[in-house]
């Protein structure tokens, strides 16, 4: 792993008193939680509760939105990724991301996966690295005979697995997934969910989903966010998924997951 030079800690990510503002609006308020290594963490909550904002804090994507201000700490293996000396591009090689709609580059299947390797000055055998990533994304058998075809010829589910292959090609420690299955049919969704279960052996995965059954199926831990009275996002409950879905401690969690709110 690329992060082996860091001090080993069972929590790969730690969030401490995180606040995020979009100009005057506070999108996240006082969020603190620890994310254990090699587990899947699901973030659930009603629309507008800040869970996607939360996800984007991990790879400093919020930096790209004008007027964003952040306080608090996000520690990746003990290092604050918001420290002044940290290059966000460097962070993004450790923390990959997969989006709601599959967004392959309008290039060949091979080049999509090789892209990140090339721009990061990969010295090894690119062919092998691409094959390995495509295999780990459970896509290799379906595309091995047409690696030079455009990625846009793939189905939606295949495109999303290609995006996962592209994200893992550069060996990140963490993969962020923002609603990765919402544009996919049930079969493709199931394939991604199976893939998540396999990927957590090597990576830590943080997934935002509106589908609470999906959160229950794929994750080890669940974080439930909601909106405070001033509409800013707060973390209500974070715990083991089987406990959250069988016996949540907070009534707001219970009301949300049982469909009595929102």
């Amino acid at each position: 792993m690329q992060n082996s030079n860091y001090l080993y800690n069972s929590n790969i990510l730690e969030v401490k008193n995180l606040n995020v503002w979009y100009r005057a609006f506070q999108a996240l308020k006082e969020i603190s939680l620890s994310i254990p290594r090699h587990h899947v963490i699901a973030c659930i909550g009603p629309s507008g509760c800040g869970k996607s904002t939360f996800l984007r804090c991990f790879n400093r994507m919020n930096d790209l939105i004008p007027g964003t201000r952040i306080s608090g700490q996000v520690l990746l293996d003990g290092q604050d990724i918001y420290n002044s000396g940290v290059d966000p591009t460097e962070i993004r090689t450790h923390i990959g991301m997969v989006f709601q709609k599959p967004n392959p580059f309008p290039k060949s299947i091979f080049d999509n996966v090789a892209f990140g390797l090339r721009i990061n000055g990969f010295k090894g055998n690119i062919k092998e690295a691409v094959e390995s990533s495509l295999r780990r994304a459970a896509l290799w058998d379906e595309v091995k005979d047409r690696l030079n075809k455009s990625a846009l010829t793939l189905s939606g589910g295949q495109q999303q697995r290609l995006c996962i292959a592209r994200a893992i090609a550069i060996q990140p420690a963490v993969i962020l997934m923002d609603e990765p299955c919402s544009a996919l049919d049930p079969v493709a969704t199931l394939k991604i969910e199976d893939l998540i279960a396999i990927l957590k052996e090597e990576y830590t995965i943080v997934i935002v989903t509106h589908n609470i059954q999906q959160a229950a199926r794929v994750s080890d831990y669940t974080a439930f966010f909601t909106m405070a009275d001033d509409r800013s996002g707060i973390l209500v409950e974070f715990g083991k998924t089987n406990e959250i879905f069988s016996n949540p401690k907070d009534k707001r969690t219970e009301d949300y997951i049982t469909g009595r709110f929102g």
Binding site: I212, Q213, A216, F245, S246, N247, P248, T253, E254, I257, T258, G259, R260
Partner: protein, 224 residues
Amino acid sequence: MIDTFHEKLEELKKDVIDMGNLVSNNVEDAINSILTGNPELARKVIKDDDKIDDYNAMIEEKCMYILALYQPVARDLRLIQSINIIVIYLERIGDISVNIAKLTIRLYEKDKKQLDKDILEIIIEMSNIVRSILDKALKAFSKEDSRLALKLDQMDSSITDLQKALYQKMYKTSVYHSEDYIKLVTNISLLSRYLERIGDNSVNIGDRVLYYLTGDFRHIHSDV
């Protein structure tokens, strides 16, 4: 869609309460049939048990559909799971009532036998306690009352003492002088066993109510 889901849950709870009332009535009738030596009432108990079995199957089917269609979680999931198990206990209590009714028929079909007054008193006391546990378990479910459900185990403990007292009485009065008497004593000890089982199953219902209400698995472990 969400509203119909919660309506379905309410409907399901009502089905369990209705089934519970049928079971409670059948327990009462079965006990009365043996206390008053009434084979007619016993036959009604056996016949009414079919309705209980139908409720059991119908509720299980509804639970399956709700699980398949709505994937309930948290409190709703605990409710469905608890109902699935509660109806098994209710169905068993129904079967035990049938067993008691069969005792009545065996003992009283041909001629009336006079039960010893002391023995009769103990059986009446056991019956009252057992019926009270069952009714309280059902009430704990319908009123979602965890404090009431917590009391059941304590009530059940006196059953064992009464059962011992009953055996003592029977040993003392029994002189093994007639086949009829041995038959009576055997049937009465069976009856005490049936009553005890109704109590146990009712306590188990209470434990499932507690799990549903609190989400605490310890309530369904025997050592707590």
